[in-house]
Symmetry: D3
Subunit: 323 residues, 6 copies
């Protein structure tokens, strides 16, 4: 019929065809080990925002290759004692945004570290972090930047930044390092899944309508950007189909999910053509930790929106406790 993707019944039994490539774990172990050679070097400077209930800090830390990555830290004004923390990753094209945006998590009493997105931060929210790497011929965007080799692929650098953001959060006095969660929607959800698969010290994981998940199916069923950037690339780079698929195996949420252990909340939307629900379930079914998923029958890629955040707030309160 005309439905965007599989029905709820079909989603319940669907399984991704994606597999982990040989050397997946070694690749990531080496990547993170290389990054760990660089001191995390977190620097905070308070920002005058005009807000009275929230204190805001410009944060810098060292991500992939020790390159500088920016973030915002927001905490309830006058908070004392270590707080549970939410490390948030941003959707495609956006950056950490403006200091006055995204007040929810700090207003709810969490220390909120919102990581910037290297080289993006121009499509709908501001960013300041550069992506330092040679750019082979590519389709506009970052989906095909360096895609012919896992070592040069853009998301190797970004996922490493995301792991390091957890280190940065844990290093803060204001944060209780045993109560750190990662949260994100779309690309941010893809980051959250990657971190969930690469770290064993997370208290919770939240991935709304996650992107970068189940590439084999996504490339078959999606006509929407940003997945379509990869299709556009293959339209011209016809001889590179196999190389591209091999690279993507190293970055697929399906493979990270299988290695994750922290409790997780997912969401999926049945009319989502950007991150079709089957691709979300591709990761969900493989997820190794305790897990739950909210399915929105009439929504597109906006998913549950504020309702997703409301549920995540309850979920995180239950897992991380009060301030």
């Amino acid at each position: 019929d005309l439905l965007t993707d599989l029905s709820e019944d079909q989603l319940a039994t669907y399984r991704s065809t994606q597999t982990a490539p040989d050397g997946f774990d070694e690749f990531w172990a080496e990547t993170l080990a290389e990054a760990a050679k660089h001191d995390i070097d977190v620097r905070l400077s308070e920002v005058e925002t005009g807000l009275e209930t929230i204190s805001t800090y410009d944060v810098r830390f060292r991500g992939f290759s020790g390159q500088e990555v920016a973030a915002w830290l927001r905490v309830p004004a006058h908070a004392t004692g270590p707080l549970p923390a939410v490390v948030q990753y941003v959707g495609y094209g956006g950056g950490r945004g403006h200091a006055l945006e995204n007040l929810l998590w700090a207003s709810a009493g969490f220390a909120h570290l919102q990581m910037d997105t290297r080289g993006q931060g121009s499509g709908w929210s501001l960013g300041v972090t550069a992506d330092e790497a040679p750019a082979q011929p590519q389709v506009p965007g970052v989906m095909t930047r360096g895609i012919l080799d896992p070592a040069t692929y853009y998301y190797r650098r970004m996922f490493t930044d995301a792991v390091r953001a957890v280190d940065a959060a844990r290093s803060l006095d204001t944060v209780d390092s045993s109560r750190v969660a990662v949260v994100g929607g779309s690309q941010g959800g893809g980051n959250a899944l990657a971190v969930a698969g690469l770290r064993s010290d997370l208290a919770a994981v939240v991935a709304f309508v996650p992107f970068l998940s189940d590439f084999p199916r996504a490339l078959r069923v999606t006509e929407s950007y940003p997945y379509k950037e990869i299709i556009d690339y293959l339209v011209v780079h016809r001889p590179d189909v196999e190389a591209v698929h091999r690279t993507l195996q190293f970055f697929d949420g399906v493979n990270f999910a299988a290695r994750a252990t922290a409790p997780a909340l997912f969401s999926a939307a049945l009319r989502d053509t950007v991150c079709p629900p089957s691709t979300v379930f591709g990761s969900f079914h493989e997820y190794g930790g305790e897990k739950e998923i909210e399915v929105w029958p009439y929504n597109g890629h906006e998913g549950g929106g504020i309702f997703d955040e409301e549920r995540a707030l309850r979920f995180l309160r239950g897992r991380l406790g009060d301030a």
Copy 2:
């Protein structure tokens, strides 16, 4: 050339051709007097949101014809003593939204009353307030609901609600009634201008890319909704062109602006096709109080977005003072 509308130079000298119809002031005086017969009857009930820095209340008051209108009230948790207040109106199609949204103004230390939008509240944010009135044949939306007569036009009811929301805010113990501002973007900015023209007790007015302003030009130069709803109506209701224009005279921001006295901040965007900058300047040039305007050269109807809000925060701090 291909620019959406007039250049900055042309905007500086442009003047709207709109005029106030005979009986404009009487029409509004009678409308507000009729509403004032109904007690404002503000009812508050606290809502459990999970936020720690903000207290949130479901508000109900009596608007046009004494009909019930909803709102959210957000105040800094543990705030004492009367606060300066921001009464906010919402853009077309939206309602007061979810209790977890729009935390900026309360986080900045203001009492923040966000009024619901009768009969809308479904396009992008939730609402719960009904529009109680017979609906003559109309184009989908509210732009042509009752448009053949000022007495039955939708915005007569909504602007009256907006005036009454100021009364509701002033009636609250937590609010310093001498320091109340009205704020809004797009339709919300149109509401703010209407209230600015109908009340003399406001401390400040903020209207971002205001809608419902300079109808004669808007209907000539715009191809975008929601102004286009009126064009769609006239496409079919060909004999009613004059009646429609006469009704619109009673609701044009240009005519409200000429009667306003409170200091005001406007914004306009040169590539805005929804509320073209010339239509904004139509009201700005007539505005009777102290005034300033931010012009965004490369933006569309999103205008300055968070930058507009940042400037409004400084503007209101200067006019309303600290909590």
Copy 3:
């Protein structure tokens, strides 16, 4: 494959999953009984059109809650003796139109009563009838007006008007009350099916590509308006999915069809994305009376157009006889 909907073979065996809710018959019995408390009060006034072969009358009668509903009555000039009558309902967004339009049925010798459409009559043809009822927050259009409760849903009022239009026609001297048919396409066809299920005194029913039929499937397979208004509503009103589906059960053509007894002619078009053919067959297969259906393999929502009308003319001649 890429086909819009099911193939002809699949349509032959498809059955809707829609069911009648508890209290369906009581709900409608009470609704019609309430309307019947108001005298039908038909008023006719002849209109000068410039036509020589057709006499035209502006008609007013009392519909839902006794509210005034307009119609056109067209009869062959100089017709004597009671005529067979065609009561026609109009498609979404339109009204009874202009007196010079829709000359077919009167030219064919029928008394032709074309009912106006409350609160619509602006999208493509003129209307003059108001929809008198409070409007809860809704998506532009009428599909979600009052949708949270069967008692407040827009189509409760409209279907009642449609039933009453048959009463109005039967009350006319010029009409042979034993030979009244209901006819309509799209929304008009939905009205015709509703009336077919609510009255047992019809001589024939014609429903071209009927709308408001098989909502469960329509909301799964359609991306087109006006069904999509409901999806747009649920995108924002996420908590109201169940309430909406419950309301729709009371207004689904599938449930009316199961109660119908008059002989009926349907049409469906295989490339119709507005009223997909499967949703039409959903009602057709349940239809309780004698029935036939014309399937147009290459048409969209225009269906058979004038060919549908040509066939309906023969069908009605056969069922209603000559003047």
Copy 4:
């Protein structure tokens, strides 16, 4: 500003730059003389439509080169004595349509001859008449068929058919040959203007939003089909710009209007992008006979629709009298 075309003030003074080429009158005199060598040879056969107030005839006559052209003739049933006649031409892509369509003119008491459109009749209404001529390379449609030479251009054949349709109408017993009007909208209006310029025996001319008028401006200001077919042609046939413009001079309504003498009713719509109002005024200002024009300020190419027809009915009644 953003308006589609010139304002009403500018339209009042606008004059087309089109000129009549040398040999214009000779070209048409010879073309019509050649056609006149063939007997008009009108054949009528009554059609069973099921209508009771109108009698309908399939008509065939000899048009350009004596080729067979079809038409419908509709007359009030039982009409006696010669009737005033309306010869109607059809819009682009359509044909004479179905026998059950277009009942207005006969219902109003006129003999109504609706000419078919050679080689079109597939876009929105049916036709049966062939265009017999070699087709040089062309853009899909008929706008560039044979466009490199006036002698081979499609509209040479069609305008000749249109002139001959008047001959056919005048030859009928049922028609009062002193009371024949030509009527049409869009392409049909272009035909009506051409006939108005080529014959001196018409009682009236009606051209709604006429097409094929003021080509020099149309090709500068229009991005819409069917004018755009010519632009598409020149995009590829770059060396043929001059030849194309020379051909169009022989077919421009501006040049026919200057030669017309019968009283005429025009309409134009200010938001018409298919036949921009300036191009309509290009012909209107040159029109040689008594003339009036209805301007629709908010309509597109639909113009006045049924309101245009209502006015035309009064206009023709005034010029042609009653049956």
Copy 5:
């Protein structure tokens, strides 16, 4: 799922439902015999292009009914002795183009005859050849020109031209008549398949993403032009569905493929919505000669582009040998 068409696995087993109509072979035998009554009458005149490595000739020969058809002949400058030849057909809307275009085949050492396309040659490349035949009412384009009867269908004339182009090539001194291949993409591929089925003296056949193949499926699964021209026709010409399908049987690549014997190279693209891959496989699976097919998993109708040509160059070198 959302894939454009069948998966690779499904394509491997898919079989078209098309069948050859009675009289297929007789129809084509008579058509070609009639054309053969006209001498091929090849005329060459050298063109000054400014190129130094290629000599170019304007070619004219007699095609269907002896009508003049144009072509370009390009040969390596200073070539001696008979060369293997490539006869190329052009895609929909285009013509033989400009003398400076399409230098590949002559640069590769072949005699390259590029046939013009009667009556097209305006959409994206130039043509000069007329289509001489009466045009019944049709949708813009050539897909429905004369479609009610095989004898009058446009492609009867074009396929005959294509067969005659091989005769023209073989008649040239510079061509080795035992080494002639036909090549084309899209409509050109459809022509190549037709010629492959109508001649037994070809050395090789190349059909990239061929059009005019497997009409029964194409009309079910395609929403894209030019197949959609036929759907547009049937939308209006509702009574002619059977006649149209009968005509198409005489022109379907599936039926030509079944009669072909020369070795062939096909290509198909999985995201091709213009010539869906299933329709290509419809012909491929029936193809009677040795055959191979390149499948492009991420491409649309552009197929393999220059990679298809690179493979064709190797394929033809292998089949036709060196100059």
Copy 6:
């Protein structure tokens, strides 16, 4: 009116408002001096293409910062003695393409060096050259890569590559270094103008519908990509408007044109919305050398297509002479 841009009359007198910034010449002198520190290091390796009339070589040389840049060299097979040379640059998104493409210039007897495009080469033709530089937050594409500072802007690197490609061509034995022309369309034309302004040893310059020309006007009148990438950037990076305009001054064709001395051929198209004709005339009017321009009245960004190339072939033959 509705025309895309200025009329031909207005274009004749239009002058760009762009100015050269302080330090323009120093900036470029230093940039090229830095590049010149790296040996050009041209490496050729012959490629087996299957062509018989053209020999093809994969070329590598050192561009900006000594980074490796690829190119194709195509020469007539068996050519002896130094040839005149055409250095060609490619349009936005494309790379040097496939070895079998773009045979025109070598077929015409020139040595043809087609430079690859760093980091692009994926949108419509293949590339292999990387852009080695950190990427600050940017909009997808290269238009805003490093745009906050002339030193980091993408086109600093690309224009330097383009200058170095001339050095590479001149270093070849097969090239007569006194007869080297630069040629390109769109972005390629922008490159050609930049090189024309930076070198005094060119024999001729050809710039079809050049991009990167007259940014102040382009950003006011264009809504099309790739110029729109800059607008998209400023929509989010609101505070950076001045910095962006300052950077663009260093890269505007208007400023390069004023410094150019070689004879030049331009083209412009009146309906070009990608590179509006006024922006082309902005550079043309400033061009310092002998100059001519072809204006296409009905074309968009395709400009003259093969007709532009035909004219360029004659122009270059006249300036560079025969092989």
